[in-house]
């Protein structure tokens, strides 16, 4: 009974001592510019069927995987100069503009359980601030360990157990080794167009793999990264990555 009487006092005291929110910093120019289309809305429409309405943040609190803003999340394949995109240069300025467009589940040949029809892009493609390779660093999105470095792949297993995959980094620029522990924000390597002997456009392919337990069974799947990245990017722009 005495405990019950004490609780209101504790709550009152805690409310009084709670830190007052700091006045909001004015928006930076980049924050004012930043816009993004809804999760799952793929552009152009012919590029596939996204997970419309899935606004769940699968990897909450991660850091944005590119060190600095701006960055532009949009399709490589269906963007200007892409394989199925409008004619033009991959470096066309329209590829380097907001709004962001989700490209998880964009048409691909390979299996993707969470995409409509069971096939699609397992991650998202992100362009750096400018169309220059080997200039912008990809960074660790959470504390963890580097589990794999291939010809064009770096894998980070975060403390959360999620695996983050970074594709197309410039191999000689990779700063980490297999088995190395990294902290959130540590540089991994420079974003490039490396895909082994075949070159791709200058971008970072980023995906998140996690295990989902379903009534006692489980499966490991690539989950939608878009909402996690929108959230992370907003924090980056706020100066609080």
């Amino acid at each position: 009974m005495r405990t019950l009487l004490i609780i209101p006092f504790i709550l009152f005291f805690s409310a009084c001592t709670q830190e007052q929110p700091k006045p909001n910093k004015p928006l930076t120019e980049e924050e004012k510019k930043f816009t993004f289309s809804p999760a799952g809305q793929l552009v152009p429409a012919k590029s596939g069927q996204g997970r419309n309405g899935d606004n769940y943040i699968y990897a909450p609190g991660i850091r944005f995987p590119i060190e600095s803003a701006p960055a532009y999340l949009n399709s490589q394949v269906y963007g200007i100069g892409g394989l199925y995109g409008a004619r033009g240069s991959l470096c066309n300025e329209k590829n380097y503009q907001y709004p962001w467009h989700d490209n998880y589940c964009e048409k691909r040949r390979w299996g993707m359980p969470l995409c409509s029809g069971g096939k699609g892009h397992q991650g998202v493609d992100i362009r750096t601030a400018t169309c220059e390779k080997n200039k912008y660093y990809a960074v660790a999105v959470e504390d963890g360990i580097i589990t794999y470095i291939g010809k064009y792949t770096v894998k980070l297993r975060g403390k959360s157990g999620r695996t983050y995959r970074y594709l197309h980094l410039d191999s000689p620029s990779v700063l980490v080794k297999k088995g190395e522990k990294v902290n959130r924000g540590d540089r991994l390597g420079l974003v490039s167009n490396n895909m082994g002997s075949t070159k791709t456009s200058i971008h970072l392919h980023f995906d998140i793999k996690e295990t989902i337990k379903i009534n006692g069974k489980s499966t490991k799947v690539y989950v939608p990264p878009y909402t996690s990245l929108v959230d992370a990017y907003k924090r980056l722009l706020r100066g609080n990555p």
Partner: protein, 169 residues
């Protein structure tokens, strides 16, 4: 932002309930666990604390320049393979749980016990054994031209040669 967080709760879609998966331990093959030719130290030392069945394609268990990264709940073993890198990983953690989302139940039902396919130029196999999720990958230096990364023949062969070399409850 708040709406983003509330929506999944309303619909009971997913919960960020992480944990460790239960394992149905297989009956080990003594010859595989303690072969006449001992496995290299890099393997035995690397997996000594792993608490899930550790699989690797049989002859590859003797490659001395493999890299083993592991803790009690996961392992990744990778080794160079003449212009390619082969990796096998096992993981007994989960990051989300679903109880009443029909979509995910359907997804689980639709996933075959083992898959073999190329994605992003990387030949991949995914499978679940004893309640643990495993993946095997071949990443080629020349992904568009190297048959090991364009044809499923090698990865299927590696899959068929998997043996349990360690791990303990």
């Amino acid at each position: 932002m708040r709406r983003l967080l509330i929506l999944p709760l309303l619909f009971g879609i997913l919960s960020a309930d992480s944990g460790i998966l239960d394992i149905k331990w297989p009956k080990p093959n003594a010859k595989h666990l303690k072969p006449s030719t001992p496995y290299p130290k890099v393997l035995t030392e690397g997996i000594k604390d792993v608490r899930l069945p550790v699989y690797i394609p049989n002859s590859y268990a003797y490659i001395k320049n493999m890299v083993v990264i592991a803790d009690k709940n996961f392992y990744t073993i990778s080794f160079p393979f003449k212009g390619a890198t082969v990796t096998i990983s096992g993981d007994r953690t989960y990051q989300e749980s679903v109880s009443n989302k029909q979509e995910f139940k359907a997804i689980l039902k639709a996933i075959p016990p083992v898959t073999f396919e190329q994605e992003e130029g990387i030949m991949t196999s995914e499978f679940n054994r004893h309640g643990v999720n495993y993946s095997m990958e071949i990443e080629c230096d020349k992904p568009q031209r190297d048959k090991r990364c364009t044809d499923t023949k090698l990865i299927k062969e590696l899959y068929s040669r998997l043996i349990m070399v360690g791990g303990h409850p």
